[in-house]
């Protein structure tokens, strides 16, 4: 009798457990099936009708039109303003999307012992080169930075960035900055249409993807007074290609094979 009683209790216990688990299973099943598929809840996603299109966006900077730093200021200011870029007193915290530098820092591999006077003294505008073969994209472990398939812009998905800074080490142009502190208190004038960033995220120039997608040229190009030209590198009739055809241009650290898409007429 002893063993059959034990047997009965085991079966009863298992049955009670099974009955208890059923509502839980039901709840799980209905949860994962999802109640909002198809019917009135169907939707479609598409690009904005006005979006500018290109195979690979590129920029030509005509440095012959640059005389002094004040020529570059409006472009840098326009970018800083629309992208909510903070201003830090401390240089180590600096966030840079577009900035100016001297020839020997911009083109360290193309520096002659005795330089042309003009080139030696004018400021050069530098920004992310939106490389065709971007090393930062290869370094990113989360695919937070990626090359947009539609137009070749090297984009940042700030949501996904974990702040490992591999991309900063990989970028040979120093185009990436890291937010060491919450940038919000350091933004002079907030543009409410563009998000700010948070502490622990890397950021850089995105060729104004948010403007291109609604049919506008990048903010710096608009403010450049003809110094910057923006267009499709693979459209032989584009304004960029016309300039490249008729002028001698150089690119930054070409020998690294990153295929930068920002060209300088010197």
């Amino acid at each position: 009798m002893e063993s059959s009683r034990r047997h009965f209790l085991t079966i009863a216990g298992l049955a009670a457990l099974g009955l208890g688990a059923k509502p839980v299973l039901n709840a799980l099943a209905s949860g994962s099936a999802g109640e909002f598929t198809g019917g009135v809840d169907a939707f479609k996603l598409k690009p904005n009708d006005k979006a500018l299109k290109a195979k690979q966006w590129a920029m030509v900077i005509d440095t012959r039109k640059i005389k002094q730093a004040s020529d570059l200021e409006p472009m840098i200011a326009a970018c800083n303003k629309i992208h909510n870029i903070p201003t830090f007193e401390d240089k180590r915290h600096e966030i840079k999307w577009i900035w100016e530098d001297e020839y020997h820092n911009v083109f360290p591999t193309a520096e002659n012992k005795f330089l042309n006077d003009r080139v030696e003294h004018i400021p050069f505008l530098v920004l992310c080169n939106h490389c065709e073969n971007p090393p930062c994209v290869r370094a990113c472990p989360t695919k937070a930075t990626f090359k947009r398939e539609v137009d070749g812009i090297v984009m940042m998905d700030f949501h996904r960035c974990i702040g490992c800074r591999f991309c900063m080490a990989a970028c040979p142009y120093g185009s990436r900055s890291f937010n060491f502190t919450d940038p919000r208190p350091f933004i002079k004038e907030v543009n409410k249409e563009f998000p700010t960033r948070m502490k622990g995220v890397v950021e850089k120039c995105d060729f104004c993807a948010e403007r291109i997608d609604v049919g506008q040229l990048p903010a710096c190009v608009e403010a450049s007074n003809g110094i910057l030209t923006f267009g499709d590198l693979y459209d032989p009739k584009s304004n960029v290609r016309e300039l490249l055809k008729s002028n001698f241009t150089i690119r930054r650290k070409q020998s690294l094979g990153t295929e930068p898409c920002v060209y300088y007429i010197v």
């Binding site: 909002f36 019917g39 996603l45 904005n48 984009m155 998000p195």
Partner: protein
Amino acid sequence: MNDRKYIIAGLVIFIAIFTFPFWYNLGKASPGPDIKLTEKAKAAKQCVMPTEYMRAEHMHLLDIWRHAVVRNSDRTFVNASGKEFTMSLSNTCLDCHSNKAEFCDKCHDYASVRPYCFDCHIDNPKEKK
């Protein structure tokens, strides 16, 4: 067997204390959050999707929007009735729902969730500072 009365008394006291929060709150269920819509949201009648969907799944929709905008450069959302919207948390959602404190926060506080969307996305585009 002599300790039986102590054990039972102890158990009764333990169960009474343990279940105290349940019977103390019995019959006075905490009321759901009282959400206020802005005039603009009221006038629009329906959000980008039916209200029930938005109530339950807005975070899922926002995730779809984020992926579409950032990674696929799709910026326009077309709902079942063919109406088009620009996919943007700051510029579309919060344009209508410009009362974050009385709309978003009410429910988020009630459900005790702390979304960090607003660490970056500016919570009230129309607010004058």
